[in-house]
């Protein structure tokens, strides 16, 4: 039977995958597409709630734009260090791979620290999940829900990248390391991409 299967495979090759180098990459893309719908729904709901509110505060008057612009810049930098780690894997430069992955993780941790600082400041200023001293209470609800959901993704990304760093440090197979780092990179860049949207819709508009 095994022989028949082999003959069959030779006659009728498997369908060409969308990501020939790894099915994991396709799996990550499909996961990200689903996750993007989740974020899209949150941002769409935010727009609908805001459009029907008469006393929605001007976000950039109440939220710290300078700090969040810095957070945006930080995530962009961490995306660059992530692609630099991939370049280093291609070159076979293992110390550089570890260095760039560590820098990416550090970027994520710094981002989370800044978000914790921002949340603490806003909460002590009176902004709550169910209340807002400057107008519509849903301002607080949507703000904490959307930025919190994104923050959870960053936390997940930091843990994911730490696991990848441990694997890359241990395994000496460049092809395998490239694959797992590229798939983790897709997730990390997605987190950056979503923040670009959150920054625009929640903080600037």
């Amino acid at each position: 039977m095994a022989e028949a299967a082999l003959t069959h495979a030779a006659v009728e090759p498997a369908e060409s995958p969308l990501t020939p180098e790894s099915w994991g990459k396709l799996g990550m893309w499909i996961f990200l597409a689903g996750d993007a719908v989740g974020f899209g729904t949150l941002l769409g709901a935010y727009g609908a709630v805001r459009a029907s509110s008469a006393d929605w505060p001007n976000p950039y008057d109440r939220l710290g734009i300078a700090l969040t612009a810095l957070m945006t810049f930080l995530l962009i930098c961490s995306s660059v260090t992530m692609v630099k780690a991939l370049e280093a894997i291609k070159r076979g430069d293992r110390p550089a791979v570890k260095r760039f992955l560590l820098m990416t993780i550090a970027g994520g941790l710094l981002f989370l620290g800044m978000q914790a600082y921002e949340w603490t400041h806003l909460i002590t200023s009176g902004l709550k999940v169910f209340g807002n001293p400057w107008g519509a209470s849903l301002f607080g609800t949507t703000f904490f829900l959307i930025t919190g959901f994104h923050g959870l993704h960053v936390t997940g990304g930091v843990i994911y990248l730490s696991v990848v760093l441990a694997a890359v440090s241990r395994i000496h197979d460049a092809r395998y390391n490239y694959m797992i780092a590229e798939i983790a990179g897709l997730y990390w860049h997605f987190v950056d991409l979503v923040w670009i949207m959150v920054f625009t819709f929640v903080y600037l508009l």
């Binding site: 459009a51 008469a54 992530m82 107008g135 209470s137 920054f199 625009t200």
Partner: protein
Amino acid sequence: MAETAAHKDPNYMAIFWWLAALTVIEIAVIFPGFPKLVVGTLLVALAVSKATLVALYFMHLRFETRTLGWVALTPLAIGTLLILVLLPDNRAVDHKTADSVKVEAPAKH
């Protein structure tokens, strides 16, 4: 890795500078007091440009198969549909509502 190395790596630093510049422009457009519609349109266009740069070059979508591109674009289509579905609801609201209950800001010490 042969397949992954098949395309030449883009100039990542150039993409980084573009993203940084677009972020600065985003912040710059909210302060001069342009009409709200102009600011909104500019901000959405800038955000979409930044997201496209990240997807095409950092996520390597530019070098992937076209079908994978369609997979990546599906959420955008669903999001657009969602906005279109919500539009009639917003139009149905005669006048915008305001909260009657507000939380008091804590007294400054």
